[in-house]
């Protein structure tokens, strides 16, 4: 079963067209294996990206070097998934 220890979901709000374009460029960085939960659309519309733990440092460095602000929406995805599974197991019991 695939697990997601250390994976984070980042929330990014592009401030202008330049940032929008720079965030779009992340989609082409295949090696980071980013999963766009909420895709890039417009300026001021949040983008949610699941970043595997192995790509966190590179993704953050990219965003910071381009001056793009971000926040962490989900700190550790597997923690949330474990809670979800526990809730399902509990309800089933």
């Amino acid at each position: 079963k695939k697990t997601f220890e250390g994976d984070q979901v980042l929330r990014i709000v592009p401030k202008d067209e330049v940032q929008l374009s720079l965030i779009k460029d992340l989609e082409d960085m295949i090696e980071l294996e980013l999963d766009f939960w909420k895709d890039v659309t417009d300026v001021d519309t949040p983008v949610h990206i699941r970043v595997p733990s192995h790509g966190l440092q590179s993704t953050r460095m990219y965003l910071e070097s381009q001056g793009i602000d971000y926040s962490v929406m989900i700190e550790d995805l597997q923690v949330i998934l474990d809670e979800e599974q526990e809730e399902m197991d509990s309800a089933a019991r």
Binding site: K1, K2, F4, K38, V40, I74, E84, E87, M88, A91
Partner: protein
């Protein structure tokens, strides 16, 4: 296990087996109104079940609703289950729903991508696509919302099997898509088609593959506005609305672009509730509020379809 659909726990997430069992119970409890149609099977051989809600007649004008084509969007399958129960419990009580079912049939496919849904429960909670292998690639599956014959292969879909938006080798290559295509064509009298996704809080109409506005843009825009206004009346959840290409991005091969081009004027796609905190891991306590508010928007679309025959 619940013995009937009254005891089914709508406030939690369920496995595919539990949803299949729910469907059978609903049919057994409502033999005069609900039947189960198997429109095909998934790549891995699971049945593609559609619940038909009908009060009689033959080949009546119909409304199609599907949930869960992107398997990880669990709140959609859960909402679909709630809708099914809501339809049978509202008939004869809610005048608007009763009027709709007295003239029209409703088809509801709760688990549109069963292989993917099973996979999210057992192997990868974040899985979105189908589970058909791609020859020559180690990456599995196709995005079933890029696989329709509407601008297929154009911008806004990937030709890489490893992409989350892989369009597939050809239009309708996925049995989960082809089965709906065949059903819609064979039926020939579907007047509204609503495909439900999660999450981003949007109600969208065609097109996604081209900037050319649909012929019915004004009517669809006004109807979308009314639907999201009704939706917001319950919990204040705010939706954006408009054409796919203008509201989100260009996407080719999408479901409702194909249905609109088939002549189904009232073609819409939803992106359901987003708390902004959990994404696809929406807590189970959000299921019923999400379904309740979405139902109001669905009623607006279904009521408009009933009152504006074409």
């Amino acid at each position: 296990a619940p013995r009937n659909t009254d005891n089914f726990d709508y406030s939690r997430y369920h496995t595919i087996e539990e949803i299949y069992s729910f469907q059978d119970m609903l049919v057994a409890e409502n033999l005069g109104m609900v039947s189960k149609i198997v429109i095909g099977s998934s790549y891995q051989g699971r049945p593609l079940n559609v619940l038909k809600f009908s009060t009689g007649g033959s080949n009546r004008p119909a409304i199609w609703i599907d949930t869960g084509i992107h398997s990880r969007e669990w709140v959609t399958q859960a909402s679909g289950t709630w809708f099914a129960k809501k339809i049978v419990s509202s008939y004869g009580r809610d005048p608007a729903l009763t009027a709709i079912l007295d003239k029209m049939d409703i088809f509801l496919e709760i688990v549109t991508n069963p292989d993917g849904f099973y996979y999210t429960h057992n192997s990868n909670r974040m899985w979105r696509k189908t589970r058909k292998p791609n020859p020559g690639s180690s990456c599995v599956g196709v995005d079933p919302n890029r696989n329709w014959d509407a601008g297929f292969g154009g911008p806004g879909a990937s030709n890489s099997p490893c992409s989350e938006t892989f369009r597939g080798p050809r239009a309708h290559s996925e049995s989960e898509v082809k089965s709906i295509v065949d059903f819609v064509k064979q039926h020939g009298n579907i007047k509204a088609f609503v495909s439900i996704h999660a999450y981003s809080q949007m109600l969208l109409y065609p097109y996604g593959y081209t900037r050319t506005p649909v012929q019915d843009q004004n009517e669809l825009h006004a109807l979308a506005k009314r639907a999201i206004t009704d939706l917001a009346s319950l919990y204040g959840t705010r939706y954006r609305y408009g054409s796919i290409i203008n509201t989100i991005y260009q996407a080719s091969g999408g479901t409702i672009d194909w249905t609109y081009n088939q002549g189904i004027k009232y073609s819409f796609t939803f992106e359901l509730r987003d708390t902004g905190r959990y994404g696809f891991i929406l807590p189970a306590n959000q299921i019923i509020p999400t379904a309740q508010e979405t139902w109001l928007a669905l009623m607006a679309i279904m009521d408009h379809t009933l009152k504006n025959p074409y």
